[in-house]
Amino acid sequence: MWTEWVRERAVRALPPEKLLPDRQPAYVSSWIYVFGVATIAALIVVIGSGVILGLKGPAWWHVSSVGRFFNSIHLWGVELLFFVMVVHLWGKFFMGAWRGGRGRTWVTGAVVFLVSIGTAFTGYLSQQNFDAQWIASEGKDGLNSVGIGAYFRVADFGQMYTFHVILLPIVVVALVAWHVLLVRRHGVVPPYPGKVATATKTAPRGEGSAP
């Protein structure tokens, strides 16, 4: 049965103790390792507030006080998402998070960052206000200049709204899930070995030094 084949491969790739570990290496006790999960927390807030905005519609998020509140939650959730995602990116870049067979983890993170920018851009275009019109005209110039203006009608609310609430969120969530599963499979990247510790280990001060 194909289900048996899938199950055996899945368990071999991600055994339960790796999928849901109950302890982490000592080096994970640092604030810099917090920003990955902070990004996911912000993403949950953004998706939750976005679902409510989508169900109620533009008239609600522009006119009613509760609608404007959820509109602001969605906007500031995105601001926070990009803030913590960039700090996460810097942290992983400076600790070389692609080391030790973690290349796919790094690449999925980089791609989801780029797709998130596209998702945020289509969100600005979905506001249904003068800001959206201005950003659409600027964006159209940019897309035309790189030769792909014919494929993305940024002034078309319907097309941009579909990109924003269905297509791109599916890609973002799928990539985030893949990214997290890869982190579970390969583990959190350890920091670079310290130069002082390495030097001490190979040539202790005062011992074996040249005369």
Partner: protein, 52 residues
């Protein structure tokens, strides 16, 4: 209704220095990200004390 903390009813202020041209709000966000990044590396992480 509470008013906004900052008056946004004016064109954005920009930081201009040679080729560098950026709204003050964006500069503030970038500086805050750098501050948070450095703090995340420098500040000690609270660890649970083990029972003897």
């Amino acid at each position: 209704m509470l008013g906004a903390l900052f008056n946004l009813n004016h064109p954005a202020h920009y930081v201009n220095w040679h080729f560098f041209h950026m709204p003050v709000a964006n500069v503030v966000v970038i500086v805050l990200m750098i501050v948070v990044f450095v703090a995340a590396i420098a500040l000690p992480f609270p660890t649970r004390s083990r029972e003897p």
